[in-house]
């Protein structure tokens, strides 16, 4: 109950093409996360799935039924917005119940559904307040509750946590993961925060300029990126890109994650000087200036001490190198 298929979906605003042919299968019960840099079309794609934005060509299918022409309210979806978007004039209870009421459910049915959703999110004490009387975190929980009430086939989230502070973001993230487990519902979640993407997703869809750059489980993308875009986007600190010719390797670019770059004061393949060190407690990030690769990052676990401007040598782990061709695609 709740699979989604996108067939060669495109969208243009006037002459600019924003979504350039997206094909995607989301299985029933899957938690699918769209990530990508700002402006790559994540929200637009999500709004097209919701029916809030017309599609220029292609099809949206929910449970194998073509819904491309259906209005949002007929698609059996629910959406949680970054700005909460609660109805300011309605109490929390009525905010949550509105969709079911509009769909023609009886009063006791609506009440039962609202109470059930409120119980799952511990919203009972807030039911008789208005949105203006809630904190940001409470508002977002109510917005999530409003989505649960109608038991949609598909949950759509558009950066629901980006207006919350760091601690609340973690708590709400865990709550969303728990809800997904409890409801076993299909969820599509847009974010540009890769921690959210990595921790929540069953599958991640990386978007780049309106195209799908790669689809896969979080660790698949991390360990087996298909191109330089995905390799650079997933993982923090970012993957280092070395010029393959300069170190006698095949391909155009060689990617190596900061934790797979060995640092030594005496000897190694790539000489450089330390330009900056970040101590994070559990790990230490060292930024090293090298020729001709530019600034490279080394990630060490635990505490380490180096002098700034000291000469050091770096050696990539040969088993962990990724080779990319001139177009940025992976060479296997």
């Amino acid at each position: 109950m709740g699979s989604l298929t996108l067939n060669n979906l495109t969208k243009s605003f006037g002459k600019t093409e924003v979504i350039k042919g997206v094909d995607l299968e989301v299985r029933d019960g899957e938690f699918c996360v769209f990530v990508g840099p700002s402006g790559c079309g994540k929200s637009t794609l999500l709004r097209m799935i919701a029916g809030l934005e017309d599609v220029s060509s292609g099809d949206v299918m929910i449970d194998a039924a073509r819904v491309t022409q259906l209005p949002p309210s007929k698609r059996e979806i629910a959406m949680v917005f970054q700005s909460y978007a609660l109805y300011p004039h309605l109490k929390v209870r009525d905010n949550m119940g509105l969709a079911m009421k509009r769909a023609g459910a009886s009063k006791p049915q609506v009440e039962a559904a609202v109470d059930e959703a409120a119980r799952m999110l511990s919203l009972e004490p807030l039911l008789d307040r208005r949105p203006a009387e809630l904190s940001g975190g409470q508002r977002q929980r109510v917005a999530i509750g409003r989505a649960i009430v109608r038991r949609p086939k598909l949950f759509l989230f558009d950066e629901p946590l980006s207006n919350l502070d760091a601690a609340l973001r973690v708590a709400t993230r865990i709550e969303i993961a728990r809800l997904h487990h409890e409801l076993k519902a299909t969820m599509i979640y847009v974010t540009h925060d890769q921690v959210e993407a990595m921790t929540l997703a069953d599958r991640i869809v990386v978007l780049d300029g309106g195209r799908v750059a790669q689809v896969g489980a979080p660790m698949e993308l991390y360990n087996d990126p298909a191109n330089t875009f995905v390799a650079g986007f997933i993982g923090s600190p970012q993957m280092n890109f070395l010029k393959a010719g300069a170190i006698g390797l095949q391909g155009e670019t060689v990617g190596i994650r900061p934790e797979h770059l060995e640092i030594s004061k005496e000897t190694g393949e790539i000489p450089g000087t330390i330009s900056h060190i970040e101590h994070l407690g559990g790990e230490t990030n060292i930024y090293i200036h090298t020729e001709p690769h530019g600034l490279l990052t080394v990630r060490l676990f635990g505490e380490h001490h180096f002098e700034i401007d000291a000469p050091v040598y770096l050696t990539p782990d040969p088993a962990r190198r990724f080779h990319f061709d001139a177009a940025g695609d992976r060479m296997r």
Partner: protein, 280 residues
Amino acid sequence: MAMSARSSLPRTVAVHVALITYTLIALFPVFVIVINSMKSRKAIFREPLALPGPGTFDLVGFQTVLSQGNFPLYFGNSLIVTVASLAIVLVFGAMAAFALSEYRWRGNLLMGLYLAIGIMIPIRLGTVAILKGMAAVGLTNTLTSLVLVYSAQGLPLAIFILSEFMRTVSDDLKNAGRIDGLSEYRIFFTLVVPLIRPAMATVAVFTMIPIWNDLWFPLILAPSEATKTVTLGAQTFIGQYVTNWNAVLASLSLAILPVLVLYLVFSRQLIRGITSGAVK
């Protein structure tokens, strides 16, 4: 740096002097009308700026106005015309503004420009054509003709101001409504309109005052006894040879009242509307 612009004393004094001077100048004619409306005819001419005293106090103007002439009728006409025009301007202006700011369709920009032209071209330029048109459809000497003209006069600015405010209403909120199955009308009336209430009040005041005060169109389109408005009615006391100044001034004083009441109703929202852009 030590003293911010806001709290500097000479500046505060200067601002207050300027504003008080302006207020005095603006209120002076109103003040003269009101005090003279309560004086005897002789007193009006002898000392036009004196306050009504024991010897000069006289309500004959108000008595004349309320007994003679159809003053309550004129008053009613003015109210009907103003309220009806205001309602039409607000409802249709807001709806047009919503359509212009919310939907993307071919010719959206052109339509917006077309509707905005009315701000720059005074409607009085078309008086002759309007009169011919009204005569052709048999609407001369009806309140309907006035309502139509005033709606046309008020709509351009209303649409212009309101569509700017509509753009500030969160898209997410409207989209949430769409997903929950609200019709576009429900979204407009229950979600959007309440959020732009201050702007609506601003538009209401700016629309209402010129309509209430207008003399031109009532004189041209509806001068009959049954359709006279207050401003036109007051003219009946101005004769070619003798003018009943008591009555003229009394009727003008009375005409101020409804505008004052409506202004007070809208003013709190109005101030929020005017300042909201600046504060945010």
